[in-house]
Symmetry: C2
Subunit: 801 residues, 2 copies
């Protein structure tokens, strides 16, 4: 229970962008984002605020081709607050002497704190203290408290407090040729001596964004009334206040802002709401108290406790895991339950991927399912709302059912780029990533996992089942029968490994019989057929009519699920795709020697005019994903169904084979590999876990974290603690436990929810203790080592391992 | 299974407004509304479309006071389609001879049909046939099919098909001094020979509304390409097509429209979406087929079957009940599950009350709970989203907790008028209706009923409980202790009976100890205290911390719930409020004789310079509501808890007392009275049921139906069938049945949902048969005559009555 604060004690402009990304505070409604080093250095503020669910389409011409894509836009900057002494230069960290510096992200409170002392050219020493929060309790409010103390001087300071609508999307270097300006000014207004209003709209989607801010000056409980000068432009408005400062009489500046958009529910007009909210907001300390209380309750649901052999390692591990949970809950807080938002791969903390949604949910939902599944439900409804667009995509491609896109945004259409930039070579290259149809299996997997944990039949009936059936129909429609081998096949797709998008020298993109995809499809079709038993018959009948689903079609799905092709080579090595075995082996040592960091092998090879398509190299887990998503029992059943052998050592042999051929070019890869090694090869698993853990805090990919944290990898590391080390599986009506702690850990304590139960779990190397809260109505089933036990509400049981 | 079509076989301009209100088709997303007689007469179209959730605030100066209120706005009219022959007059029913006329609302299909034959001055005979629908399957689409046949002439017709943004809110005469113009034009565009686009925004709330329409001409399967002339204004756009007509070669005009607003989920920009949707829409017949299928499935959930001694009466009764269900499902269709909308008292079928939300949910949710409770859940979340505003209202009034407003709209603030017009006297009078705090008890009642039927603990935990606790806190804070009588009291409120808003000659508004309110508050406080046992302890702890709720506060609530004052007079007649007994008796016969229809006694008395406050007169059920909402057992327990006597004959004596003093000035009143008499006085109950049933179809209030149907009364009549005649109560974990058919009925068949069960019920005068669908997991409890029985999934049981 030790690691709660991410602290930096020196101002380091080189590291500032990374720090800002990591120390961001938000609440799932709006998040303050990282800043470019320059802007942080010379202002007290941080530019920009992302708004979830507020997208803007952009069009740009690159290499003669029009790229149409979407940006998650930056909202007007509300944090803009700075000062100067006696008409001097505005505060700039680069032009003063820094006497002390302490920056701290208090993870427990979700408050960013900074304390610094500076000395300027005229030897004036000033202390500055800041606390910043975006309220998790009142999701439309954020606040910045700034204390300025003249330590050895007296004089007049001028404080500028602004709302700034001139912000652009410019946080990712390689997007700089795209249009980053998305806000059209509507109104700026000074309401009174402390209140400003700024309203803008997004240029393409016409979402209105309104901000109202109050700035007040206090000395203790005494409000200092200052009449400001107004600086007003159509997209910028500031109050300039002049205050007399005396030594040891610090002034406290409280800036509170309310943000509403025209997409908010229960509003009349966003500008009216922002004014009302900021007027009612009260003082910083009261706002902070309620914010901290709400976080305290969230931590009660999401925290865990590990006991590590080395206390320092324990503190460090817990700190980073909690940082991950903080980021996750800021990206998808309980407030998303009422918003039409998905899970952006990079959170709301940076502009990379422009806020797009990929398959990262697959790594994120398991955490939520066992802690606050209501959030998963909301995020799955985001998918459901886009079912129509997925149907349209399938139709346009000549398929049936629903084909969800690999990358998507506001309206759910395919947003994957058709070209991408290799910053190493400067070349724009064709991008086939949209061929990753496997996202359609991940969505079904996510629905089913949510259902297994919650037994939420209402969700399954009204939303989940329709998606499952339409996705199953899509898979069946792109599956073809191969008369020669008497197997069903899926041709021209991509697996998760993005290094392989075509056969070497092939005229077309796509690969045949990607093993991961084919196995997932078998599983999806089984679930689709199972719905006939699981759903209330009334609802299954309705869906059959609405979808024009016949018994024959279900029979066909069942047929495919028994005769799908899975390619093998070298005995029982599952081929990543058909033909993988004839690719060249890659010279790992040679390239490592030549380039050092080779995790983005694709860029290196392209700059040498080669392509990873030639080689047995993977960017990330592909075949290995199967051992991550399914237990050995499930896979063994599935392979038996298909008539393929599945040996005792199939898993370790395959893991070992692909481990040696993976560059971990995705932050997800180490999570998956650590997971699949956790039982069979604990010594190799832990270091991979630690590397995955450090992905963002040390920016392992060298620059990608400031462009946005990696939500999938962050969640994946927490899930290693939550499900992998405890061996939690939810299958049938049983919560299975199969704990296996890494050698480094002595114990693990966490609480989870399963259906209507709240359970406390305590795992040591020798035993597992489970107790349930007494308020549930019915007993529950837990399973340990193939035995199941009934646990009554309020009961505690201990099992030896 | 007979009554399915509402048919009119003569064109009657006098009745047109009423007919249009009744024959409206919509889907809960947008509904086409009734038209003023003039406009229907001279065009083939019907003006206007309401959009749910799209409000606009209006301000007007009346009698020197500013009235700020909200309007549910009319969307641009998409139905505008008319024609003329050879440059003659545009089609006008008043200037032609009508040879035949048949208008039919097909309730089963939710399609409006009209067939007419006309002869003009030049003896040209023309047949016109129309079908109109708003798709329940694709909620953004609507369609109008028009067939025109030249029977005895040949020549050129000019067809005009428009999108018209010039619509105003002008459907209610007495609102005519308010500003009815709410749309600001943004764009009109002709995309190609058959596609038009119109975009507008609401003037205050800045909601964008986009419509795209295609108009195509067919002869059978042959598309007729016609190049139109364009008529374009900033708020109106039309295509004018010229076609050659020959006898016996009818032309079929298909107009399909897509409507999106900026508040829709899963969109990029509303204009883009509307274009995309209308492009994909296909032909009328396919759209209609899917619309009818979706309605078929809805009817499977919502229909019922009664057997009446008189087959004609059976058909008529079923027809009207189904019309009511149709209107209900159009106002709050399954599509509201994804919209932030409430239940407007007048549906989406007219402008009265401007789309405001009152307490009508109380009469509507019971239908939904037992058929499709997911809709109730969505509508209760509408209330939850406005909890912040209710807290603000309580705070502003000096109270604690949450005080929901009597009338509300977009942002949940109080929208009750402060003045209202008496059309009889022309006077604007002060309006105290906002003192109807009892709506706060109705909301708790609704949450609890939903929970009892569904056992949806997730909803209760995340949304319901917080509302219940905050409303309980509000009630406790406006409750005062009377030292003399040693009872708690609630002063200065109004009960449901709107004829009484103050004591005669009192300087202030409000009444003391309204019995209905006080009893409801006792019940609410009991439920709030019960939450400690019902909620998972984890969640109750969280809520206690978030709401700063102490054990002492709960104890205080419990204390109030045992010592609330209820006023009585004349032995055990429950006084409607304290001091009711000393009011004057009213001269019912005299006034009936003088005025005939006296259901709006308030207006009559005011025009005589009197006030109903002086008299023992009620507009509607007030005390009697208690017997509607609670069973005798529940009330008996509740009175015992308070230490008041509750005799065997308390209910009939009170019902009788107030029956004789009620004018039924609200359409809800007869529903309630029929209900409470259904057991004790069946002969009087049935006529009241029939009168309630006719409320809208015969416009009993003389003109209010064209201003909007009465959703509460419509639902209430269906609920008389569903819960009153079957005696369904959901208490504890038991579904209680206590059937008592009216003498006129021989049997009643319906299917309902209870928790995870689907049940078929068949009730006759002598027995009740219950069977459950086999797909549920657990057995359920049913209760008949104080005995409970377990019913296994798939089981059928019959009980003698």
């Amino acid at each position: 229970m030790s690691g709660w604060k991410l602290v930096y004690t020196a101002f380091d402009p080189q590291q500032e962008a990374l720090r800002e990304a990591l120390c961001t505070v938000g609440n799932g409604y709006f998040a303050t984002r990282g800043a470019a080093p320059e802007s942080t250095a010379n202002e007290v503020h941080y530019p920009g605020t992302y708004i979830s669910g507020c997208y803007n389409r952009l069009q740009t011409d690159i290499a003669g081709k029009t790229i149409e894509n979407e940006d998650l836009v930056n909202a007007p900057n509300w944090l803009s607050l700075t000062f100067r002494i006696e008409e001097g230069e505005w505060f700039d960290l680069r032009s003063v002497e820094i006497l002390s510096y302490h920056q701290e992200l208090d993870i427990k409170q979700a408050i960013m704190k900074r304390t610094l002392r500076i000395r300027d050219d005229e030897a004036r020493e000033t202390r500055i203290e800041q606390r910043r929060l975006v309220s998790i309790e009142q999701p439309h409010l954020a606040a910045l408290e700034t204390i300025i103390e003249a330590e050895n001087w007296r004089g007049v300071i001028e404080v500028s407090s602004a709302l700034d609508g001139r912000v652009t999307n410019d946080g990712v270097e390689r997007y700089s040729s795209l249009n980053g300006k998305h806000l059209v000014p509507l109104l700026t207004e000074s309401i009174d001596n402390h209140t400003l209003v700024l309203q803008v709209e997004t240029s393409q989607s016409h979402v209105h964004i309104a901000e109202a801010a109050t700035t007040r000056f206090w000395r203790g409980d005494e409000l200092i009334e200052v009449t400001p000068e107004l600086e007003q432009d159509e997209d910028y408005i500031a109050h300039h206040y002049r205050l007399d400062m005396e030594p040891k009489h610090p002034v406290q500046i409280e800036k509170i802002v309310a943000l509403f958009t025209s997409r908010d529910n229960a509003i009349s007009e966003s500008g009216l709401e922002a004014r009302k909210a900021v007027t009612d907001a009260g003082r910083f300390v009261a706002l902070a108290a309620r914010h901290m209380l709400a976080w305290k309750l969230l931590w009660q649901r999401f925290d865990f406790d590990i006991e590590h052999a080395d206390p320092e390692a324990e503190e460090h591990t817990e700190l980073i895991l909690r940082l991950h949970i903080l980021h996750l809950l800021q990206t998808i807080s309980p407030h998303v339950m009422d918003l039409d938002v998905g899970v952006p791969a990079r959170g709301l903390h940076g502009e990379a991927y422009r806020g797009h949604i990929f398959w990262d949910e697959l790594f994120i939902f398991p955490i939520l399912n066992l802690r606050m599944p209501e959030i998963t439900r909301a995020l799955l409804r985001y998918r459901y709302r886009r079912l129509g667009e997925a149907r349209r995509a399938a139709r346009a491609a000549g398929h049936r059912g629903a084909m969800y896109p690999w990358q998507s945004g506001s309206d759910g259409r395919e947003e994957s780029q058709r070209l991408h930039l290799n910053p190493r070579s400067g070349n724009w290259l064709p991008d086939n990533s949209r061929l990753q149809r496997h996202i359609n299996a991940a969505i079904v997997y996510n629905i089913w996992q949510y259902y297994e944990v919650t037994r939420d039949l209402e969700f399954l009936s009204f939303y989940g089942a329709e998606m499952i059936l339409e996705i199953a129909r899509f898979w069946a429609s792109i599956t073809t029968w191969n008369d020669t081998r008497e197997r069903y096949e899926i041709l021209n797709v991509m697996g998760p490994d993005e290094y392989h998008d075509a056969y070497p020298d092939a005229g077309q993109s796509g690969l045949n019989n990607n093993a991961y995809t084919n196995v997932m499809v078998v599983w999806v079709l089984q679930r689709a057929c199972e719905l006939r038993e699981v759903l209330p018959s009334q609802r299954f009948d309705e869906l059959s009519q609405l979808l024009d689903l016949s018994r024959d079609e279900l029979t066909h799905w069942d047929e495919i699920s028994r005769n799908m092709c899975i390619p093998f080579h070298d005995d029982d090595i599952i081929s990543q795709f058909e033909g993988y075995e004839s690719l060249e082996e890659f010279d790992w040592q040679g390239y490592q020697h030549k380039y050092g960091d080779i995790h983005r092998l694709d860029r290196i090879l392209e700059s040498e005019n080669k392509t990873p398509n030639r080689f047995k190299v993977s960017k990330q887990a592909d075949v290995v994903m199967l051992f991550y998503l399914f237990s050995a029992e499930e896979l063994s059943d599935l392979f038996a169904r298909l008539g393929y052998a599945f040996q005792h050592d199939t898993i370790p042999r395959n893991v070992d084979y692909y481990m040696r051929r993976t560059s971990h070019g995705s932050t997800l890869s180490r999570v998956v590999h650590s997971w699949v090694l956790a039982r069979g090869n604990r010594p190799e698993s832990w270091p991979l876990f630690m590397q995955a853990l450090e992905s963002d805090v040390t920016d392992v990919q060298g620059g990608t974290t400031p462009e946005g944290i990696h939500t999938g990898a962050m969640a994946g590391t927490v899930d290693l603690i939550q499900r992998c080390f405890t061996g939690i599986e939810t299958r049938g009506d049983v919560l299975w436990l199969n704990p296996s702690l890494p050698e480094e850990l002595k114990s693990l304590t966490l609480n989870i929810r399963y259906r209507q139960h709240v359970l406390d779990l305590h795992v040591t190397t020798t035993c597992v203790r489970v107790s349930t809260h007494p308020s549930a109505e019915l007993p529950m089933q837990i399973g340990i080592k193939a035995e199941t036990y009934q646990l009554k509400p309020g009961e505690m049981r201990e099992f030896q391992l």
